[in-house]
C-alpha cells in the first residue's frame, strides 16, 4: 500500500457531543500512568453517570421485586422496569412495547429465537441462512439447533473487501429456508451491511428474518418497522448500559405463536400439577426475577443517547472513523483488514510480524485499550486469511486526539517489532 504524507484533517467535535466525555467518569482515569484512551467499544462501552445514577437510585430508593408486591416499592420498581421497555420500543420504533423482551444480551436473544420460535418448525433438511461475517453468537446457536433437528446451516459468502458477496443470494434463499439471520454491522471488521434489500427479498418470499444489531443499535438509527425484520437482537452493555441485560425485538404476531423459553415464576397464567398455562408476550419469555436494575439502566442509557441525538452521533462517528482509517493507513507496515463500502464502529488491522496480541500489550502500556484476537468471528478470520487482528473500535466519546494517541502508540510498536 502506498503511504501518503499529507496529514488527514481531524473532524470537529459538534456542539451536541462537545461535553460528552465529562459524562463518563471512567474516562478520567489513567492506565499504566497514561490517560486512558478507550478504543475497545465494540467489546463493551463505558457507562455515563446518568446510567450509574439510575442503577444507584434503584438500589437506594426503589429496590423490590417486580410484578409481585402490592406495596409501593414493588409498584415503583415495576413501573421503572416497564417504563424502560417502552423507551426501548420507541428507540427502535417497535409497534408495541410487548414486542420487547428482556434477555441477558444478544447471545441469549438468538438462543431464545432458536428454542422458542424456530425449533418447533424445523424438519430435517430445512435451512437456516446466515453470513460468513457473523459473530459466534449468530452461528453456534444455529449449529446446535441443526444438530438437534437435522436442519442445515447455509452461509452467504463475503468478498475480499469483507462486504457480503450476494452473487448467489438468490440461490441461497430457497423454499427450504426457514430463517435468514444476518448481522447489520460486523464487530470484527466494521462492515455495515446493506440489509434492507435482503430483508425485503426474504419477506417477499415469506421467509422470517433476524437482524443482529449488537453493533448497530449504538451507531445507526434503527426502525424495525421500516426494516421489516421479524426479530432483532442487541446487548445493553454495548450501548452504554449495564452488562447482563439485552433485548429481543420480536414481531408480535410471531411472538404470540411461540413456546416459552424457560419455565418459572412470572411467565405463567396458571399452574396446576395437571399442567400450566402461560402469559402473553413479553412475560411468557421472562421467567423468574429478571435483571431489574439492568433494564432500568438500559432505559437510562437510551435516554442519554436520545438526549445527545443518535443522528448527530452517527454523523460524528462516521467522520471520526474516516479520520482513523486515513491516519492508520499512513503507518508503515500497517494493513487494514477489509475495505467495506460502508464502515461503522471498528477498524481491524495487522502490522507486519507484530502479532496482534503483542500490539495489544504495547498499546496497553501507552494507555490505549484495543482488542486483539479473532473477535468471536473465527470463520470470518479464516476467510480473510488472518488468524487474528488488532481492532480499534469507536464510540461517541472518542476524539481525534484518541486516534492520534493510537497512531503514536502504533508507531512505537513498529519500532519494537518491525
Amino acid at each position: 500500500m502506498s503511504k501518503t504524507n499529507s496529514q488527514p484533517t481531524p473532524p470537529a467535535i459538534p456542539e451536541a457531543l462537545a461535553h460528552v466525555r465529562g459524562d463518563f467518569p471512567i474516562l478520567s482515569r489513567t492506565v499504566h500512568g497514561k490517560p486512558l484512551v478507550y478504543l475497545d467499544n465494540a467489546a463493551s462501552t463505558q457507562k455515563p453517570q446518568a446510567v450509574i445514577d439510575a442503577v444507584t437510585r434503584y438500589y437506594s430508593h426503589e429496590n423490590a421485586n417486580i410484578h409481585r408486591g402490592v406495596h409501593l416499592l414493588s409498584t415503583e420498581a415495576t413501573g421503572a422496569y416497564e417504563e424502560a421497555r417502552g423507551k426501548i420500543a420507541k428507540f427502535i420504533n417497535a409497534a408495541d412495547d410487548s414486542e420487547i423482551i428482556y434477555t441477558r444480551g444478544a447471545t441469549e436473544s438468538v438462543n431464545l429465537v432458536a428454542h422458542s420460535y424456530l425449533e418447533p418448525l424445523l424438519q430435517p433438511g430445512d435451512e437456516i441462512l446466515i453470513s460468513a461475517m457473523e459473530h459466534h453468537a449468530n452461528i453456534v446457536p444455529w449449529q446446535l439447533l441443526c444438530a438437534r433437528t437435522g436442519a442445515i446451516l447455509k452461509v452467504i459468502p463475503v468478498t475480499d473487501d469483507c462486504d457480503l458477496d450476494l452473487a448467489t443470494f438468490d440461490q441461497l434463499l430457497t423454499e427450504k429456508t426457514k430463517l435468514l439471520s444476518i448481522v447489520y454491522v460486523s464487530n470484527a471488521i466494521g462492515t455495515v451491511n446493506d440489509i434492507q434489500p435482503l430483508l425485503d427479498q426474504a419477506k417477499a418470499r415469506g421467509i422470517p428474518t433476524l437482524v443482529d444489531a449488537a453493533q448497530a443499535i449504538q451507531h445507526i438509527p434503527l426502525d424495525v418497522q421500516k426494516l421489516g425484520c421479524d426479530f432483532l437482537v442487541a446487548s445493553g452493555h454495548k450501548i452504554y448500559a449495564p452488562t447482563g441485560i439485552g433485548i429481543l425485538y420480536g414481531r408480535r404476531a410471531l411472538l404470540d405463536t411461540m413456546r416459552p423459553y424457560q419455565g418459572g415464576g412470572d411467565m405463567i397464567a396458571h399452574v396446576t400439577f395437571e399442567g400450566s398455562t402461560f402469559k402473553e408476550p413479553p412475560s411468557r419469555f421472562e421467567a423468574g426475577t429478571p435483571h431489574i436494575e439492568g433494564a432500568i439502566g438500559l432505559g437510562a442509557a437510551i435516554d442519554y443517547l436520545s438526549s445527545v441525538g443518535l443522528p448527530a452521533i452517527h454523523d460524528y462517528e462516521s467522520q471520526l472513523i474516516a479520520y482513523a482509517v486515513a491516519k492508520l493507513s499512513q503507518i508503515d507496515g500497517l494493513k487494514i483488514i477489509g475495505n467495506p463500502r460502508v464502515r461503522s464502529g471498528a477498524i481491524s488491522f495487522t502490522m507486519g510480524d507484530a502479532h496482534p496480541h503483542d500490539i495489544g500489550t504495547v498499546l496497553d502500556t501507552e494507555g490505549v485499550a484495543i482488542r486483539s484476537g479473532h473477535h468471536c468471528c473465527e470463520p470470518l478470520m479464516k476467510r480473510l486469511g488472518v488468524p487474528a487482528t488488532a481492532r480499534a473500535s469507536f464510540s461517541l466519546y472518542n476524539t481525534p486526539a484518541d486516534v492520534d494517541a493510537l497512531a503514536a502508540a502504533l508507531k512505537k510498536t513498529a519500532l519494537l517489532f518491525l
Binding site: H357, D358, T361, T365, E366, S372, E378, M381, L416
Partner: protein
C-alpha cells in the same frame, strides 16, 4: 518505553521469536495441539525419542512473540534434560506461572520469560507450549517426556 514492557520484550525473547529453534513438524512423533481461547493462538508440540535415546522436541505455531519464544526456549532446554526431570520441569514451570508470583527464578535464557509476570493476561502465552508438551504425556502416559 515502559520499563515492564522493556523487560517483557527483551532481546533474548525477541531473538527467539524472530528465529525460533526447532520450529518444524517432526515425523513419527507424538504430538499435542493447544489453543489459547483468549486470542486464538495455536501451538502443536512434537516429541520423540531417537534410537540413541535422545529426546527431540519441536513445535509449529501460529502465535504471538511470547508464545513463540517460550516454545523455542522450551524445545532447547527440555530436550537436554533427562527424562523425569524434563516432565517435572514443565509441570513446575506451568504451576509457578499460574500462581502469579512477583518473581520466578528460571535457568538460562528462560529467565527472559519472567517479564510476563507484569502482564497477567500474557502468562498463558508463556505456559502454552509447556502445557502442550504435558498434554502429549497425558495422552500417552507411557511416553515420558
Amino acid at each position: 518505553m515502559n520499563p515492564d514492557l522493556k523487560k517483557l520484550y527483551q532481546q533474548t525473547l525477541l531473538a527467539h521469536s524472530k528465529q525460533p529453534h526447532n520450529n518444524c513438524e517432526l515425523a513419527n512423533a507424538a504430538s499435542a495441539t493447544l489453543r489459547n481461547p483468549l486470542c486464538g493462538d495455536e501451538i502443536t508440540v512434537y516429541r520423540k525419542t531417537d534410537d540413541d535415546g535422545r529426546a527431540r522436541i519441536t513445535f509449529t505455531a501460529q502465535s504471538c512473540t511470547i508464545c513463540l519464544a517460550a516454545a523455542s526456549m522450551m524445545t532447547q532446554h527440555l530436550a537436554a534434560l533427562p527424562n523425569p526431570e524434563a516432565t517435572q520441569f514443565a509441570k513446575q514451570f506451568v504451576s509457578d506461572f499460574q500462581d502469579k508470583p512477583a518473581t520466578i527464578d528460571l535457568p538460562g535464557e528462560l529467565a527472559a520469560l519472567s517479564g510476563v509476570l507484569a502482564f497477567p493476561s500474557r502468562i498463558r502465552c508463556a505456559t502454552l507450549p509447556f502445557e502442550a508438551l504435558l498434554k502429549i504425556q497425558a495422552q500417552d502416559p507411557s511416553s515420558r517426556i
